[in-house]
Symmetry: C2
Subunit: 228 residues, 2 copies
């Protein structure tokens, strides 16, 4: 799956201050992905020796990454027994969705006020692309764009904390939604809600966007509850 070469120090270029090699971030990302994709199942122990060998790093930076993820809420630290992948109950998921709903309702309102036309157009572009994936039946790509749209709207609020909290909850829910394969009719409903969201955003209709986002996330619970 992951071997040594895949974890070579990542060097990021691009605009802004020159980013540098950060093994820490790489390990964190990899572990996060492994948890979301279910390679590391809930309740499973994070074996330092084994994982480190698999990723091609020693235990020290690996342990640091695990501590980081623990603070993020994806992993649970058990004294003298290392770390296990956090397991979320149905109520946990429901609770997270309630909070996420509240945050996105707020983000929606702010996005209508503070998002530039260009930024909103970018969200629309993501949406159009997502629709293409829906029509093509590409669930994985659809799913990723879906998340990207919610993240983008949160970002339009221009409120870093809000975007951060939204991202955190979304990440924790990723694995759940990843497995929550809804049927065609529920999927269609979700797409319809997204259409409505984008329309409200383009019309800068705060109340409507907030309402749709709220409804969308309330329905999200209905869509995944069976999968828990």
């Amino acid at each position: 799956m992951d071997d040594v070469s895949s974890l070579d120090r990542k060097v990021e270029g691009g605009p802004g201050p020159i980013q540098r090699t950060v093994l820490h971030d790489t390990i964190v990302s990899h572990l996060r992905d492994m948890i979301i994709e279910g390679i590391l199942e809930p309740g499973m122990r994070l074996h330092e020796g084994q994982l480190g060998e698999q990723l091609g790093v020693s235990r020290t930076p690996l342990r640091e990454a695990i501590k980081f993820l623990a603070s993020e809420g994806l992993v649970e630290l058990v004294p003298s027994r290392g770390a296990i992948v956090k397991r979320f109950s149905g109520k946990d998921v429901q609770d997270m969705l309630i909070v996420l709903r509240t945050l996105e309702e707020l983000a929606g309102k702010l996005a209508c006020q503070l998002g530039s036309d260009a930024e909103i157009a970018q969200v629309r572009a993501l949406h159009d692309e997502m629709i293409r994936c829906y029509q093509a039946g590409d669930r994985l790509q659809y799913y990723k764009l879906n998340q990207a749209i919610h993240t983008a709207i949160a970002k339009l609020s221009k409120n870093a904390s809000l975007a951060e909290m939204q991202q955190m909850l979304q990440t924790r829910l990723k694995r759940i939604r990843f497995i929550g394969h809804e049927g065609p009719e529920k999927w269609a409903a979700a797409v319809a809600e997204h259409e409505e969201m984008i329309a409200a955003l383009e019309a800068r209709d705060e109340a409507r966007l907030s309402e749709v986002l709220g409804r969308h996330l309330a329905n999200a619970w209905e869509r995944v509850r069976s999968a828990i």
Copy 2:
């Protein structure tokens, strides 16, 4: 300030599963306190060698604690240059308060629905104690009880994620509020708002509690903005 002996492995007893020695948690708590109390000022570098010696631990667990705090948002990681205490701008604080407000409004509603009479009585007890501190002019203790009340209400929502996010934001804001020494009239206003909060909670008046909490946090920004 902190020497070796103060960091001896903490063993927690009490009810529930027996907690065990956790140096990690101890270091995290100490660093958090040092940041909140301003011993480690914003922008200041977290010197691993020096800090480790001061706390009486080696760099390894210290670094793990720093990574944990980085994920928590109190510290910023700078590649090849260690970690610095995160500095929050005025807008950052305002943004955090907006999110906190939204979360506490939700928590207030849920608390009215789900809090038991006994739990509400406990909040009332905290409040009465806080009033005593107010009358005695004990700002530090007042401040701590104030936070405890907000935390307690969040907990009454019976929503772990909500309580966690509230706690996270409150922690990040602690240092700001800690220095935000408002004058007597503003202080009195804050106390009055708290009185109203408790009354609404006891009456299980969702709308009113939510409204007061929202107003309280909106005013909080007015109270601290000058201190930024």
